[in-house]
Amino acid sequence: MSSGRALAEGFPDLTGLPTARRTHWGRWIAAGLILVVLALIGRAFAQGQIEWAYVGRFLTVPVILRGIVNTLVMAVLAMSLGIVLGLVVAVMRLSPNPVLKGVAAGYTWLFRGTPLILQLLLWFNLALVFPVIGIPGLWSAKSVEVMTPFLAALLGLGINQGAYTSEVMRAGLLSVDAGQYEAAQAIGMGRLKALYRIILPQAMRVVLPPLGNEFIGMVKATSLASVIQYPEVLHAAENIYYANSRVIELLIVAGLWYLLVVSILTPLQMLLERRFSRGTARITK
């Protein structure tokens, strides 16, 4: 010490002494037990009645590849519809207009409150309610022809997703400080421009992790569209095993494809998150 005061005796200098490592017996035992269980499960599957050769053979057949492409197309389109709807509904929900607010809350209530598979079946069977749809005097068509499996799946998945996404978006919009909106107004921005240029880019940072979650959910939710004959990957796998009875092998094929898609999406999400975290302390060190 530079103050010149004498230090008390009895507190030895510990600098330079090595630190001994403690042995974590509990961790070793737990790790050992888990490895044994994993080995047993692995052995069970190896001895189980799975013809792995079929998995390899069907993994890349054209029907399955078309199925996974259809899965991805539907996931991207339905998610896009869900994001657009979700954003509109979230903005409506935060508006001072009681009608807009009520309609937005009602939409979320209705589509979050009923099972997705039920909604898909309702869209697909819309022709039972409205045999003919159209704009009076301008255009009309038979519902059976318009409501293809593709359109029914898109509407069912997208509109349902919108109900969930609206809550994610609302949380994001609420997370942005009210002062940001005032600052945008103070430099002459209108409501929409402030939303688009100032509020949304900041909300994105909060919204992206749950939205990534939702998109991964959507990739898997497209499998429900198999019940309305949309030819996504699970539907393709089912069609094959109806013919050759290799049920488990083809379900594993579909499962591997889902795992692959989800594994690719995770790093993509991280890239997006980095893009929208500009200016935050954690990134700019």
Partner: protein
């Protein structure tokens, strides 16, 4: 009073629920005048400032900036609210500096300054950029143009906020307690920028607790209490020899 006032506030009242934030307030701000509004929190000074920028809507009375009635149009003996677009256009005449800076955190200092001219006024980015750099130099932050707000101190952020407001070429600058959220050692740099701005002839309304700044820079000091103007005059009159007992007790409480 000879010249037309740049800001004319006439019989303005504003309530939040049962709380009367402004109670029949009238005042004039002449072109080039620096007016400091002082008073305890809850006295209505910030509300008055926000009404001048239409961030808060008034209940009664009228505010004119540059001869134009704010937020309303009179026709057929009735007042009609202006559209959001017209209100946004009226706001271009005033620049606002907030207590908590409110810089856009996802944009650099330079982008904060160019945002309004480019994306609201639709001016050419190249020409705006040069002006914005000149403004950042004016507030002493040319070297920080590429920094994000999170990389700047509070005083630096507030100076960027001043540059952002000036970039819109306002006729009037509103300051809402611009130094209240700053660490004490950073107050001086912001006041220095405001002092320079006042000398350049900018019309300013400043809500502040910095009585030293008011004494030195203000042309007019307005003391408010309970939503009303208690006393207004030169700094020497209001701060030097206040006539009202309420002003005297406020000043002795602030100076201690």
């Amino acid at each position: 009073m000879s010249a037309r006032p740049l800001v004319a506030v006439r019989r303005v009242s504003k309530s939040f629920g049962t709380f009367k934030a402004l109670n029949d307030v009238s005042l004039d701000v002449r072109p080039g005048e620096v007016m400091c509004l002082i008073g305890a929190s809850g006295s209505g000074k910030t509300t008055l400032l926000r009404c001048v920028n239409q961030l808060t809507r008034i209940d009664a009375g009228g505010i004119w900036v540059d001869g134009e009635l704010l937020g309303m149009r009179e026709s057929g003996g009735r007042l009609h609210a202006l559209s959001e677009r017209e209100v946004a256009r009226q706001r271009l005449k005033t620049g606002m500096v907030f207590q908590r800076f409110n810089l856009f955190p996802h944009k650099t200092a330079l982008e904060n300054v160019t945002e309004g001219p480019v994306h609201v006024q639709g001016r050419r980015p190249a020409e705006v950029r040069d002006e914005a750099m000149a403004l950042l130099a004016r507030v002493g932050l040319a070297a920080k143009a590429g920094n994000y707000p999170s990389q700047l101190s509070g005083g630096q952020q507030q100076r960027v906020a001043i540059a952002r407001a000036l970039a819109m070429k306002p006729q009037l600058m509103l300051f809402d307690e611009p130094t209240s959220a700053l660490d004490p050692e950073l107050v001086g740099e912001v006041l220095a920028v405001m002092r320079e701005l006042a000398r350049s002839g900018m019309t300013m309304m400043v809500v502040t607790h910095e009585l030293g700044f008011a004494r030195e820079v203000a042309d007019t000091v307005v003391y408010m209490d309970q939503g009303a103007i208690v006393e207004a005059g030169t700094p020497a009159e209001v701060l030097g020899g206040p006539r009202e007992a309420r002003t005297r007790s406020f000043l002795s409480a602030v100076i201690g």
